[in-house]
Assembly symmetry: none
């Protein structure tokens, strides 16, 4: 499997650095090759084309999220606790790797529709796990049993995503982690803090 060869990871990591430091549109294949310490042509022994590199970057990094989330789901207690830990984990990973945060929140979104669709397909696995938490919570009565799961998932993910993107756009000027509990609280209770009928 090519994904186990050392140069594969070498190139993926080089891509993250190059994209974070130069921006999506200035991340030429030759720059990535140089950063990875290989020749331009070598890239094409491990990746079909440039698009394949970008998607692989997302895939490799997403794996970390998915695995953490699987662990959280298996070892958590209540659904709201799982949700909290999912939020914390999401914020933590990106707060600790600003290169990665820049790449996922800003740069990779500049890719064309085709790539974005493939990225979204990869993201789906993560969102499916989120759905699991939500559904479990609904069944258990922790979450509103009448809510639309899709909308709920979009609210959770959209809020997290928007928060982190804003943080990146503001050049990491404030403490992202302090935001996590507030996000959790607001997602659970909504704007009113008490149910509106």
């Amino acid at each position: 499997m090519k994904r186990d060869k050392p140069k594969y990871k070498q190139i993926v990591d080089a891509a993250v650095i190059v994209i974070a430091e130069n921006g999506y549109h200035q991340a030429q294949v030759s720059k990535i090759a140089k950063q990875a310490g290989v020749a331009d042509g070598t890239i094409y022994l491990y990746f079909k084309n440039k698009e394949d590199i970008l998607i692989s970057v997302f895939q490799e990094k997403m794996t970390v999220f998915v695995e953490s989330l699987q662990d959280i789901i298996q070892n958590g207690n209540s659904s709201s606790e799982k949700l909290s830990r999912m939020i914390d984990n999401h914020f933590n990973v990106l707060a600790q790797d600003r290169h990665l945060a820049t790449v996922t929140q800003l740069e990779l979104r500049q890719s064309n529709k085709e790539i974005r669709l493939k990225i979204n397909a990869i993201l789906k696995e993560y969102l499916k796990l989120l759905d699991e938490i939500l559904i479990e919570g609904m069944l258990k009565g922790e979450f509103n049993p009448a809510m639309d799961v899709r909308i709920a998932r979009q609210m959770v993910f959209g809020t997290i995503d928007e928060s982190i993107t804003t943080w990146v756009m503001n050049e990491f000027r404030y403490d992202l982690l302090a935001t996590a509990p507030k996000v959790r609280y607001l997602l659970l209770n909504g704007l009113t803090g008490t149910p509106v009928l």
Copy 2:
């Protein structure tokens, strides 16, 4: 004022169509000119450069949102009603113009950092109005007076944005408008539906 001349609007509208139908990176100036029914050079009598066209597209269309929202704020009753109407308005405008939805949710985000920053600056005005609604609601006791407005705003906008983007990515396959009341309900009440302490 050039922005009042008919050709200005003609070109902006042409740009929306061309970008929606061809994608951001395939939206050449010559295509926009052709769609607008003017010569390539005419574009440059109304716009400084291609970037200026793209920003103007966003600005012109954003004006519709901002003006509607200003109207909603002035004529609405309760804060939660204003929020509801804001959400409805946002969904309605884009549900009725799929070209525009494609452009704002997918294509325009492929632009480079410079353009994105300018787009974000325009967006701020809209978000400021959203903040007004939220703050008013907190003062009136309709919204949780203890909540962090920034996070609340990110939740509202992030949820709306994520919902619409998903709809566009799924190629408009379901009824977006049916989503609006659910989004409203979930934003107000949160996942639990009852306050969690």
Copy 3:
């Protein structure tokens, strides 16, 4: 005759200023029109095309040189005195109008071969008068009767031209007029200062 109409001269003078201040390649028709205080289209009521403007500039200004030289030839005494006065005149006119010097020595030479050929045709009249002085001097025995007039003319004109061009290129940093007598002396006596057999 169009050349007697006030706007004709107005445009020619505007062209000199615009070319001197912006350079040949930045001297657009619209800039010349603006400087002349007329509309772009008006230019074409007085000139066939842009090339026609440039040639007219040279022609109008060359007239000054030619008329002065005709006067010098008619009123001078010895041939070497005529030559001296011709040199002085050439240096004087350009020393007093740095815009004109910039235009004739640097900017107008950036024009294409076609224009340069037409400019050279206009220059010929001036060079013919120079030939007259030289031939008269040869007949009178003031100048070497055995010399090749064409080469002699090229030496005189080439030396003057090179001197003035160097002065313009050095941004008028030294006194051009102090150069005139030295040029005259060297042209008459050559490098040796005494005849070489």
Copy 4:
């Protein structure tokens, strides 16, 4: 060193031909590439941009002049002999390569100020060698010890330049080489042929 690679010279030579045959403003990069037998993109592996090609053309060809002149200075006897050989050499090189003559005398002068300044800097080396000959001759008493070297240099170079430019403009219709000894004679003895006091 890129300048030693065969393609470098190949492209420079192609540029001379293309410029000579099509004129400066019609010498597109793609034409030069085609003439050189390489792809357009290959040009940019050897040259930074089009301006770099043009300057390199002048530099490469000027090197021939400078090296010949250095040889002449080292191996010549009297100063006037060195001057004669310098003149002969200048005329010879251009008489034998009409493409080059067209390019240096007419086409390259159409370039913008930036390029012209760089070309002039290259030319200075050549003129410095000319100054050496003149100064040596003054010290030895072969040339007028009282003359202004700058003016003398301008006379020598201006005369040669004017002669060759005229020849090119007249489309090589007469024998340039026959001109060389006359130029030499006139430069040394001046117009009078006998000293004027």
